[in-house]
Subunit: 243 residues, 4 copies
């Protein structure tokens, strides 16, 4: 059983009728419907929950965290962001969605500004598979189309991804590294660009397939915070000892 | 002219006669002697300087920052660490020395714990060149020896280096990724393991050669903070416009 | 069921009594004993088999190929090496052992000379885990010792590994990137340094664990040769078409 | 002085009046005009020259080789391709242009099929800068347009580039990793997608800027074939000895 926690800022849905019409149960509600299944249990948390709904214990009971945020990144306390960062380093999988490129946990894990070029648009987007054999792109054809999506463009200030899985192409002309995979500490991180709140992106079948694949791919098989041990000298007669 | 700023915590030299005997003018003083030259100007700053001697203006006048710290990482304010991080992302070169693996600027740029395994020892260390054609290892033979050095061991919790230049081998049996190169934003970062305060490591000729090479390699040829611009649609008749 | 094919040059065992005493059924025989199990079927092939025992059909029925060779790399026809290379690119997993760093299939997949520094020795070797959370190093402590092993040293002329899993440390002073992981085309490649014919290395429990782990890790979940298709333009009304 | 050798297949220009009109002195002639300068000397060679105009001695006198080929890759003897590969591994820079993705030297250096998806088209192409601070993209704005170019698409079966510098976006919808940088052995390799023979691509100013930048970036500062030396044990009293 993979234990998924979906964290959603949940502000646009409350303040905008347009967004609420698309995601009446919130983006987290829509994602929960997509992901829950026989081998996946889902919980949700939002910004307005006490402590953002994130504690050390909650994260220890989480295999994969999804994070959607946009207008209120700064309202997430640093302490919460550090908890998420450290959980990832200890092995928890993490999927950062769309404007979560600027969320604190993602920026703190990347170490860069995660700035990008952007444009409000009615662009359609074609997403192209770069690595057809990767488990996250399994079941996806060479490309798929999003009828409308906010335009993101390069440069995207991230470390070179360990693996670049998808490149997006907007009808207005921009390109973007839309699916980026990282390993940090003992955890796996997937950044996935689609999901502007004003468009029904998470109802697109290929987006759902990729999300389901990604949850399975980043789920940990090992969970431990690699420490900074003081050790004693290794000898032929005794094993390597951590004090 | 490459403008170097050497930042040294400068605590051990004040509190320990043993260290002071090795570095009577501080580790920063020894590094300054090594690096200054016809094409390199050197300034220094330490923890006890007001604001750690680091301001936005100081960093804008710096091409390459060297950082040595150990026992007082926590005394460096976050604001100072963020200034350093952002200067690197805008193109400033940075060289982190020895126990600066745990310094705030290095950890914030890496995004990981930068934990490692360690042992106080009288080990000698052999440092092996992995990339003989790299500008940083130019002039170094296949390996060189440090008569004594604190033992660092794997796992070292860092992102996979963009380029691994040196591996250290300690007489007690450990190995360590001792020379690691990263590109983050527009800046280049070199982590270089040698330099425990209790040993005269910075007087070893090969260590000095690598430091001189590294300063030249990480010095920027471009300096700009890549922003997050809102743009207007590209058209055939007009260029790409940043609002 | 993972279908493993073990290819062994099988020359030393015939010409040297010393080697035959260690591996009476050949190195391939020893490896077969280690790997076969409820979910793994094993076949073997050797240099003296007609066509090296390698055909397109044999490789299509193979999920993971292990390769051990040393003194007779040049006797493997280019055609056989190309079959192996192409099977890997189509998704077959491959594990290259010890002196197979100079085998034709490995060199053709890497694109480099795969030269290294070496020394016949009675060195012992300590192998250190760099990535403790990787499935290939699962079950291995921080390090393990081989009582005797031929000494390999840097520089090892390979592309920067996608993931460096193990570094070896020889009692004579050398270090070596002993466990290197690559993705090429749709296939995964693991280079694993231990296994000199004169020493009973493949009887060491940790070596066996790593081999069993590696077979499972590089086994394909997808198998297809990515072609070079001529396509028709994508339109809104019809899908992307390969002619 | 950087010594450039431009190798052009030089077949289309002879057989097609359309191509000859665009490149009356051959593609190599056009490239020579672009690259030659005070600090760059240029020679050219073509398929119809004896031995393709490539010998060990010619390559030893070459700092940077540019390669354009398309319809006659198979007519380049393997021996010539191996000479090029080995010169790169010893430090020579190499720039592979457009359909040279399928040339023997490029494929042998990459180790993969280098297959891609393609379409004859009248597409225009927008090329986007991914790494604005890289010396190869210096002087290029965020993007530039080619009025017409053959369409290349993903998947492009190459090893993950050490650095991805440019992504191309075709008006027909495809994307492509159009500027890819590799280090192999002691040499640097740049693959650059623009340059279909039917379009005057090499007259576009930004293409010329990138070519001039790339020649300087891949030019070697070190030149040596890293060998496979048999060594003697390192001791405290004597240096590391190659037999």
């Amino acid at each position: 059983m993979i234990r998924v926690l979906i964290w959603n800022e949940y502000q646009h849905e409350k303040s905008s009728e347009e967004v609420r019409r698309i995601y009446p149960n919130g983006i987290h509600g829509a994602l929960a419907e997509i992901l829950k299944g026989e081998d996946v249990s889902v919980r949700t948390a939002t910004l307005d929950d006490p402590g953002c709904g994130i504690t050390k214990e909650v994260l220890e009971d989480t295999d994969v965290l999804l994070w959607w945020g946009h207008m209120a990144h700064h309202k997430v306390p640093d302490e919460v962001a550090y908890l998420v960062r450290d959980a990832v380093l200890s092995g928890m999988g993490a999927i950062f969605l769309h404007s979560a490129h600027h969320s604190k946990p993602f920026r703190y894990l990347m170490g860069t500004s995660c700035n990008l070029t952007w444009r409000e648009s009615q662009d359609s987007e074609l997403l192209w598979v770069i690595e057809p054999s990767h488990p996250i792109t399994r079941g996806i054809d060479r490309c798929f189309r999003l009828p409308a999506e906010e335009t993101y463009g390069e440069p995207f200030v991230i470390p070179t991804p360990d693996k670049l899985l998808l490149i997006g192409n907007y009808s207005g002309g921009e390109v973007f590294r839309s699916g980026c995979l990282y390993e940090r500490g003992n955890g796996r991180i997937f950044y996935f660009q689609p999901g502007h709140e004003s468009f029904p992106t998470y109802y697109v079948p290929e987006v759902q397939t990729i999300l389901r694949n990604a949850v399975r791919y980043v789920a940990p098989t090992y969970r431990e915070m690699t420490a900074c041990p003081h050790v004693r000298k290794i000898t032929d007669s005794e094993p390597y000892v951590i004090d």
